[in-house]
Symmetry: D2
Subunit: 384 residues, 4 copies
């Protein structure tokens, strides 16, 4: 297996998500960081490069310099893809520049600030035929893939209803000085039109679409900014309709004191129910009105038999918990395998292509716009 070379924009000292990208890309031996523009402050960028043991020549002051610098290298040494871990408002220009320069891209979400940007990026990806990943971590969990495959196989019957909850508590109050992350995440100019809905509501919506294989067609939202002084929504409740007559409810909030990252989904079919809980991610509950509940557990042969995609994204035996980093890394596995396939001039398989990307990004932006429009216009239905 060819180890891919990762460049990174953002992910400076102390930044949470950049470190997650590096760890996850590296975990399975399929990629490792070789270059970066880690910080607006060149000194800090260099320091981070040193921390990471990088060649100082490949630690850049700006993403523009990184693109230029990497392009100047022989193809074999050059970064194979660039991970974008910067504040939301910069995702678009950086991704655009990378794609235009011929680099594959793994982008943090939300992908852009506006739908127009998202669609522009989508056009660019189609045109360049480069590989573009969007880090919707949660669909990387093996048991989420299993849920999707159980649904797809028809085991739960035609879907009727979906409930997805995503409570967090970390923005339950403004501190005197909000921490670095909180400040940009709650600033419209850098975060986009939505706060909570952009940050975690999109994960919830993406999860619902992923597991059901259906698209959300319209939403009716009631967004709030509960914390005094906050400029963007920190909470939202959303009714939604999906294709094929499915109805749903999405609740995402960041003011639920003491809740950590409690993303949960229940999908009710005509025969059965599947339920998954991010904080206990190695199991999938399958409920049936006529039989004992089944608790499917990661790492078992019966999981592999039902979901090759889940088995492929599972490293440790049953009972040896995998977590968030492994889910993250699963997206990298498939993203990197897709890049390798294209390097080898072969068509990536469905299993390799099983990672979130540009389409999810465009849908995420549309979801954000629709829920914001709905809420601003008095809680009315808005098509996506």
């Amino acid at each position: 297996m060819k180890k891919l070379k990762m460049g990174m924009v953002g992910g400076g000292i102390g930044a949470f998500i950049g470190a997650v990208h590096r760890r996850s890309a590296r975990l399975d031996g399929g990629a490792d960081i070789v270059a970066g523009a880690f910080d607006i402050d060149p000194a800090k960028s260099l320091e981070q490069g040193r921390n990471l043991g990088l060649d100082p020549n490949r630690v850049y002051r700006t993403y523009q310099e990184m693109i230029k610098g990497e392009l100047a290298l022989p193809r074999e040494e050059r970064a194979d893809f660039i991970a974008i871990c910067t504040p939301n408002h910069t995702h678009f220009p950086i991704a655009k520049a990378c794609l235009e320069a011929g680099f594959n891209v793994m982008c943090e979400k939300p992908m852009t600030l506006t739908t127009a940007e998202a669609e522009a990026l989508e056009a660019l990806v189609r045109k360049t035929r480069l590989t573009f990943g969007l880090m919707h971590t949660y669909t990387g969990y093996p048991m989420v893939k299993l849920a999707r495959d159980i649904v797809k196989a028809g085991d739960i019957g035609k879907i009727r209803k979906v409930v997805v909850q995503y409570p967090q508590g970390w923005l339950y109050k403004l501190t005197g000085r909000e921490n670095m992350q909180a400040s940009w995440r709650t600033d419209p100019k850098r975060s986009g039109r939505a706060g909570c809905m952009g940050d975690i509501g999109t994960h919830a919506a993406n999860l619902a679409e992923f597991v059901t294989g259906l698209k959300i067609t319209e939403v009716l939202a009631d967004l709030s900014a509960f914390v005094k002084g906050r400029r963007l929504d920190d909470d939202g409740s959303v009714l939604f309709h999906m294709e094929k007559g499915v109805k749903g409810v999405l609740v995402a909030t960041q003011i639920a004191s003491g809740e950590e990252n409690d993303l949960n989904i229940w999908v009710y079919g005509e025969k059965k129910t599947v339920a998954w809980y991010q904080e206990n991610p190695n199991i999938l509950r399958v409920l049936d009105q006529t039989a004992p509940e089944q608790v499917w557990k990661r790492g078992n042969a019966y999981v592999a038999a039902k979901s090759p995609a889940a088995a492929r994204c599972s490293r440790t035996p049953n009972g040896h918990p995998e977590g968030f980093l492994e889910a993250f890394a699963n997206n990298y596995i498939n993203f990197c395998d897709t890049i390798r396939a294209r390097m080898e001039k072969r068509k990536p398989t469905a299993l390799e292509l099983d990672f979130p990307g540009i389409v999810d990004g465009v849908r995420g932006m549309k979801f954000i716009n629709a829920v914001c429009d709905s809420s601003e216009q008095g809680n009315v239905w808005k098509k996506i």
Copy 2:
């Protein structure tokens, strides 16, 4: 303690809820059944009377006969209250007749078919000054009372948001012949305007109001009848607003295959969160962004110190689970103690009055009407 004499309308052979009333009223020794009109079929009524070991003279053919028959008895022998366990559409006429004849009433829910009936009953209760209980079982759980008292004490801070879920699966399909309960529960003429919303949505709404101490002021609902051939809603999603700027989401469904009776509530305050789960009712979770989660457990001194109402409604030591029947019985304890207080010509205490009654019944009817109106009119806000 004077043992109260219970009369019952409904609760014939095989009827679920009548048996629950009898068991619960009897559990703590505070009441027992002495009379009944159990079935439209007089022979079956008599048979049920025999099953229950009643004096055959006090097994009646109709509630009208029961009222007449009991009134003919000396006051000391007469039923002290009448429990109404019949299909929804008969609650109102029976309750009315009982109150008018001077009987205290414990009524199953929903209290009536219409708001007009509910308000008429309310007027009658006020006029007669009789004791009227409405069986919202779930607020009888000690840990729900604890939740209310923690909220009331300000421990979680000003409330921001409430999420209440109530999935069941038992109506996930129409069987060739729906069982007795299912048939009237899904028949508009006998069940009222709402199906799922009347049957369990009202429990969820009542729970939200009880724990928060706040009233729901408006709702926006999206109701469905997912099962082909069903005439009433079997599922609903509701956005709601409460007093003091609180927002909420209520999801109730009866088509969630394999879900049993999974009523859950989360209340998010400015400081903390409380969460309670009916299927694991002996604990209350208290979440706090700055400290370990606390799991309060029924039967402990620290519960009693915070909530005398919870302690009063707790029989067994910590770790010895109490359940649904005990919650039900707790409503009887307070209902009966209130009757006794009034017999003794003293004002019932706040602890004695801590059971659901006519006010909850009126609110329940208004809730049903508002959610049905909202859904029928295109998912718009409706005041309660």
Copy 3:
């Protein structure tokens, strides 16, 4: 169904277990208290009789007077059975006197202070052919009956190993004045040779034998009295062997601060595992190396199909939790049905006879003796 008349010895004001007996016997309408000798202090006994609404003529000063007084009544009015809820050391003389006088007996556990007494009682029960119940509450839980029936059906294969844990915390320290219960429970003269092992170790052993259908043949125990000043064991660890080569471990402790009543059992068979947890009693886990875990839930048709005994001891629908009192009451249901069968001169069915009795009591005493002998003699194997 004939309502049986219950007499009670013990169960005075404030006594925990007497109230549980009364509530449980009464819950299903099959029995109710009519007579009692509640307290050594006659005034307190009378007061308790008043609290319970009894005829003062049937509130006695001593159990001897109760026996005499009840015998003086016409058979139809007389107590049908007597519940013994006194401190351990009085169980034997009271039970003996009741049986000799022709009364059926429901006895708290441990049944006696010594094996000799237990065997004497057993002989008396055989001789009198009266109905004798011993309140091992936990085998009254429906899901424990289901576990037994799953094992009996061979579904888990030949049993290999059993692990049973029973941690409690309420004796984790001596308070200045130990409460009433604690004082006699930790006094060898009144409690018997064992403390924790007699109080809860016997429950654990009984549960292991009940679920497996196998007898413990020998034990090796390591008992401790961790709390300074305590005269009896407050903790014990026991290795045991059962019939058919089964091995096991039993841990019972009352010094586990914060543990409430956490009786748990795991039975490992050649094919599958069953696991049950008293604090979450409405489910039974069935584990299988080759398939998803099954969670069986009380109140479902699939439970009834596997275990009529579980279905018979289940009142509320699935998802409406039953608890400790209901388990207790299940023992009363079967005990009372057995009495009724014998009143009707018919042989009780296996389902009616499904309650713990004299045989369990004798085995309990032998278990206590064996573990005490083993521990005192240096942790050596002792036959039961």
Copy 4:
């Protein structure tokens, strides 16, 4: 941070634990593989080297060749440590050779086949002053470190009792051809004197000693080989005594069908209880007889305040689960930091030295011997 160079013996294609070592060492960027002798079959070893992207010159046929080959390289290129991931019986000679050649060693467990070997290795480690790690994964979990630090701080009071359970199911039967792992794990010549006790019993014992900070002084064991045809124990129950009067029970089994890797520990102190469950590793329960249960959750400030060691070994924010690989990697973090400290000629800090090593290995061998002796000699106490 200097990235350390890892050599590996074992860990060929398809081998589970070798892959875990590579992933874990690499996860945090502190080490990566540069050399290996992966398989007895040189072709397979080379193939694995290719899979891993290694320089073929550093893929060796034997560990002896690897030692020689690496020594031939300049010090800066040479492997900084060697991970030993071979069957049990080869750990000792390989570790010995590596240490004698001057290499730091990370060794799989059990460390050796005999206590004599273990002590010889201990002497060698002391003599060479090299860094030696032993992969007791479970003490790498942050919440285990927190448990230890809570105990150490005296928060639960003097310890009284410890219960540790470790059920697995994967050896519940012999398959026609046991898989590669199973075959050597159940062969006395390659696995050592014990089967289950060596494989997982030692983890359980190590965990008990780690959390309590106390040594097991004597054991009394009842070992079994339940599966016909198996030559080593596949199940064991152990009573044990620790320093300071602490008593304990250890149950480890590999025949518990459907159990996965359910290592659990409860430590009962005079004031409180701590409980941890490997399959739900991100929480630690703290029980207290006088207050609500506390659920401490990884990634929170209150954890860091109590346990810098836990905070240091935590990567993702609260609610983003970490698992087995991360625990494994935590041992590598501290192992590598200790190596770096010694490279820098400074004394490693207590936090850096917080990984299992030679002392744990010697104790593990003594534990194995003592439990085997005890069981073979009729379940008698054996000193460790």
